[in-house]
């Protein structure tokens, strides 16, 4: 399933954002934003509140048409594609929205089985069986599968939403603050799951997060959104060394240092 499309061969860039401008009325969120996401990497996107991380995600997955600029996913200009073609690309992407966005009128199993039935053409029993596996993979207990989202805690909704994003075994996974609202144990398990899946399935992950531990443990590269563009992108040390007040505060504040030390200990432990 992970056949690289021929036009991608050049640098294995799966998402290419060029010169994107996003404005809401008079407020400009992005101005000439460029970003590349490479195949098989976990790219962490950080930035202060209101710097347009979620807007960028919505722009890339085609929910928002930017005022200017271009977005290419898997080598295709997403905004110029026909609907039919778009669906084919969309099937290769999984999205976890910030608040989960599960369908509230369906049970968890039905939520996860839906893409399998609609896109992969599974019969319902097989789809539900596989959906249950995905839910288990996301760390949900067996009795939660037939509950409705309103009956679950926020963290469980997040996991179920991850299971739905993973339903079609997508090539690109978009995650909007996946570990927010999870307890630290669950968040660490989530990081490991993501790492395992990425290594085994060659996933590309676009990860918006505020969780410094996640950044230090699993991200290959980090992009910092500030001043209406991607201020800097690179591996952690490179980014942390950037001469910018916000970046310095972020990575060298008390929490940043703690996460860094924890990650260093973790690496020594292994």
């Amino acid at each position: 399933m992970n056949t690289p499309a021929p036009q991608l061969a050049e640098a294995e860039v799966v998402i290419r954002v060029r010169g994107v401008c996003n404005r809401f009325g008079k407020q400009t969120v992005h101005e000439g934003l460029d970003l590349d996401v490479r195949r098989g990497e976990i790219l962490g996107v950080v930035g202060g509140s209101g710097t347009g991380k979620s807007v960028l995600l919505r722009t890339i997955i085609g929910l928002r048409r930017p005022q200017a600029g271009q977005v290419q996913i898997l080598g295709e200009d997403f905004l110029a594609l026909s609907d039919e073609h778009r669906v084919r690309i969309e099937r290769r992407c999984g999205v976890l929205f910030q608040s989960g966005a599960l369908f509230s009128s369906q049970t968890l199993v039905e939520n996860v089985a839906m893409p399998l039935i609609e896109h992969a053409g599974f019969p319902r029993p097989a789809a539900e069986q596989l959906a249950i596996v995905k839910l288990a993979l996301a760390g949900l207990p067996a009795d939660a599968a037939h509950k409705y989202p309103a009956q679950l805690s926020g963290g469980m909704v997040k996991r179920a939403a991850l299971a739905r994003a993973l339903a079609l075994d997508p090539e690109i996974l978009f995650l909007d603050e996946p570990t927010a609202g999870l307890d630290p144990i669950a968040a660490a398990a989530f990081d490991q799951l993501l790492l395992t899946l990425r290594n085994a399935l060659d996933l590309t992950v676009f990860l918006i997060t505020h969780d410094l531990d996640t950044l230090y443990t699993i991200c290959d590269r980090v992009a910092v959104l500030a001043q209406k563009k991607v201020l800097v992108v690179g591996d952690l040390d490179e980014v942390a060394a950037t001469d910018d007040a916000w970046v310095q505060d972020y990575f060298h504040g008390p929490r940043g240092r703690a996460a860094q030390q924890a990650a260093a200990h973790g690496r020594q432990g292994q």
Binding site: S105, A120, V133
Partner: protein, 395 residues
């Protein structure tokens, strides 16, 4: 058989080609029997492979050995099939022991295996007979209605108590939301109310002019229109329209606030949701509905008057004189007296349904529908009872 095995061997040899479809082959001749997994075990192949697994059901025991050397692509769907084949526990143990497998694949198999261990099949839903289910459904529906009306009574009490308390505390009057609600429920509804009652007035006059003229009583069309609109249609049409327009809006507004935990936030900030959300709406309806009833009465009379002028040659002056002479004021009072009662019922039912919403979008929809159905039902029920009462009282 031999030829068959050779064919398998050749396919095995070709396994370096990247995208062979996933296959499973059971070799019962070797001791112990072995299962050979080959090709791509991915989502696209899931249903086919699942069928093949089902065919092998019961032929595999714990002693069986597994050969995955020829396995192509593997994703979580394929890994879950392997877990079904071998048992989740065995798969993760097996994966742990396979040092020749790439680490990434071992990790995937282990993760899926461990995830599926903790998983047991959910208990099947108990089936009940159709007749039993039918009566059970009737029973639960009846119980639901009873509970609903009981809760509505409680909510009316709560609203009235809050209203009376606030009357004595003018600093708690919330005039801005009240004005906004009056604009939304009253002022903005004037065009639709006026148009609708104008047309119904015209229709009633048409009926009168066709039927009454046969008896030479065509002139009484004027009385028909005036009586019906002052006593019944003015207030009833307005109430039904507002039940559809406003009760649903109240239920949806409060319902989505409830789903979004906004109502809980109001409560926890030490504010009273009834005072904040319900009272402005109820008071706005108490003002808007009688006012709109007046509009409806005038507009209905106007519609009737236009038809009378066109088909019966009753001039507007004569129409007004006849209404003035023949229709006593009490008919108007009987009509308008019902307006506040309807207003209160509609607003309270809309708000009460809003508070019953629980989380999901579907629940918002259900309670919005329920608010409209209930309030129209209540309006017509109360109107029928009032008609009986006024008739017996001779008003």
């Amino acid at each position: 058989m031999n030829a068959g095995r050779q064919a398998v061997a050749t396919t095995m040899a070709q396994m370096d080609t990247p995208h062979a479809p996933g296959q499973i082959h059971l070799d019962r001749r070797s001791q112990p029997a072995s299962v050979r997994i080959s090709g791509d075990w991915t989502l696209a192949r899931y249903t086919v492979l699942q069928g093949e697994l089902a065919a092998l059901e019961g032929q595999l025991d714990d002693s069986i050995s597994v050969d995955m050397a020829a396995l192509g692509e593997l994703d979580t769907a394929g890994a879950s099939l392997l877990a079904q084949l071998l048992g989740a526990q065995r798969l993760s143990d097996w994966a742990k022991a396979q040092e020749t497998l790439p680490a990434a694949r071992r990790a995937l198999l282990q993760t899926v295996g461990e995830a599926m261990q903790s998983w047991r099949a959910p208990a099947p839903v108990r089936q009940t007979g159709a007749i039993r289910a039918f009566f059970a459904h009737i029973g639960s529906a009846m119980e639901k209605v009873a509970r609903q009306e009981w809760a509505l009574l409680g909510f009316i009490g709560l609203t009235l108590a809050t209203l009376v308390y606030d009357l004595w505390h003018p600093q708690r009057w919330r005039l801005t939301p009240l004005a906004a609600q009056i604009e939304e429920t009253g002022w903005n509804a004037i065009p639709i109310i006026a148009l609708l009652t104008f047309m119904v007035g015209a229709v009633v006059a048409f009926l009168g002019s066709t039927v009454l003229v046969e008896f030479g009583a065509g002139i009484y069309t004027v009385n028909l229109v005036a009586f019906s609109f002052l006593r019944e249609f003015g207030v009833l049409l307005t109430a039904i329209l507002l039940a559809g327009r406003t009760a649903s809006a109240f239920a949806a507004q409060i319902g989505s606030m409830q789903a979004n935990e906004e109502v809980d936030a109001i409560r926890i900030l030490g504010l009273n949701p009834v005072e904040l959300l319900v009272l402005p709406r109820v008071l706005a309806m108490l003002i808007a509905l009688p006012a709109l009833t007046l509009v409806a009465m005038f507009s209905g009379l106007l519609g009737g008057g236009v038809v009378c002028a066109m088909t019966l040659d009753v001039s507007p002056t004569m129409f007004i004189n006849m209404v003035h002479d023949n229709v006593a004021v009490r008919h108007f009072l009987v009509g308008i007296a019902k307006a506040p009662v309807f207003a209160f019922l509609i607003a309270v039912i809309g708000c009460a349904e809003g508070f019953k919403v629980t989380g999901s979008a579907q629940s918002v929809g259900e309670h919005t529908t329920s608010s409209v159905v209930q309030s129209i039902f209540m309006v017509i029920l109360v109107d029928a009872l009032a008609a009986l009462f006024f008739m017996q009282a001779g008003w």
